[in-house]
């Protein structure tokens, strides 16, 4: 895959929390030379000591937070996870974190711990996360053009220009701009 890309900086790897601490250390050592954009969810999401151990030895960016759902968990990540606000990435999912009131608490917790909003890249790759990133001035958003259909992806016909996407200007989240998803929602009524 790297042969298709101009540099490792264009690729992020997500371990989906599968590695135990020793495996995580081993894999991080193997990946470090590639200079990946980030290495995500490396170990158990609540093993903050393991996060700190990996951050000690893995210099490129790490990402965490997709499987942490509360401000209390975020506070522990900030206190004990050893992550580095100058480079690491926070992938909390607003819909998984008690919705926007809970997500805003997490943003506050992390800002108080020295993180900037540019570090946030909300998980999901759907219209809701795109709006949240635009409104809160976050670093970016996932896009899921092919997976998790019909929920992944943005408006029908939406284009990504130079790596940027625009949230639709329809009222609300604009699920109506995504016809397959709108049909699914309409069928609830």
């Amino acid at each position: 895959m790297l042969a298709l890309l101009p540099s490792g900086e264009r690729l992020a790897v997500d371990a989906m929390n599968r590695y135990d601490p020793d495996q995580a250390v081993h894999v991080a050592g193997a990946l470090a030379p590639y200079g990946l954009r980030w290495f995500e969810d490396v170990c158990d999401p609540l093993d903050f000591a393991a996060h700190a151990r990996i951050a000690e030895l893995y210099a490129p960016p790490l990402a965490a937070g997709e499987a942490l759902f509360s401000a209390a968990d975020a506070r522990n990540l900030a206190r004990y996870g050893g992550l580095r606000p100058d480079r690491d990435v926070l992938v909390f999912d607003p819909a998984h974190c008690y919705g926007l009131p809970g997500y805003l608490q997490i943003v506050q917790v992390m800002e108080a711990a020295g993180w900037s909003r540019a570090a946030f890249q909300p998980h999901g790759g759907h219209l809701f996360s795109l709006h949240v990133a635009a409104a809160l001035g976050l670093g970016g958003s996932e896009a899921n053009p092919h997976n998790f259909q019909p929920f992944g992806g943005f408006a029908d016909g939406a284009v990504v220009e130079d790596g940027f996407a625009r949230p639709p200007d329809a009222p609300g989240i604009g699920f109506e701009t995504r016809s397959a998803l709108h049909a699914l929602f309409r069928s609830l009524l």
Partner: protein, 193 residues
């Protein structure tokens, strides 16, 4: 669907009902369920505001990549929201205040034990923001920026393409095809699991 709508009744905006349904989802473009039997919960929050003769309805879902929360929504959080139907209007009465609705959904919840109730609440919260922004006739990004005191919202957002899940057959070939597709779509990064 028959509800008594606001134009006939007057008063502050109310929530008339919540609908929910489990929806299986796949992490693969082909729809293969390999690797998880994931699902999500789609919800609709019906308000008593009429637009073009139809009630304004907010839609939400339990994001992707994990599981739906229909049980908690049906048993605990949708009933609480409907019980507070008269108490979720914005200060002017003409809109919905999602923060107020959230406080009602969380009433009586205990500290700790976040478990998956966060997802149940987040699912309904998404629909409440959709409804609130629709009633205000604004896209969510502008409505949310105003609601949080931001000076404005970004017109465009950097995105990266998610994907790269393992395939049982032809993994490398399918993976490289997927990455080529992302590059043709001018998305700068992909993520591989």
């Amino acid at each position: 669907m028959r509800y008594e709508v606001r134009s006939e009744r007057g008063g502050a905006v109310r929530i008339l009902g919540v609908r929910e349904r489990r929806v299986p989802i796949s992490r693969y473009a082909t729809g293969d369920a390999t690797g998880g039997d994931l699902d999500t919960t789609a919800v609709a929050v019906v308000t008593d505001v009429l637009r073009d003769g139809e009630p304004v309805v907010g839609f939400g879902f339990s994001s992707i990549g994990r599981f739906g929360q229909g049980g908690l929504i049906r048993e605990r959080f949708a009933p609480r929201l409907v019980a507070a139907a008269d108490a979720v209007a914005s200060a002017s009465g003409g809109g919905i205040d999602p923060f107020r609705a959230w406080d009602h959904m969380m009433r009586g919840e205990k500290p700790g034990g976040h478990g998956e109730r966060c997802v149940a609440v987040g699912t309904l919260d998404m629909a409440l923001w959709d409804a609130a922004a629709k009633i205000a006739d604004r896209p969510l990004h502008a409505f949310l920026a105003a609601a949080t005191g931001a000076s404005g919202s970004a017109a465009r957002v950097p995105v990266y393409a998610g994907g790269g899940y393992y395939f049982a057959d032809g993994d490398i070939g399918r993976l490289t095809d997927e990455v080529r597709g992302f590059l043709d779509g001018a998305t700068p990064m992909s993520r591989s699991r």
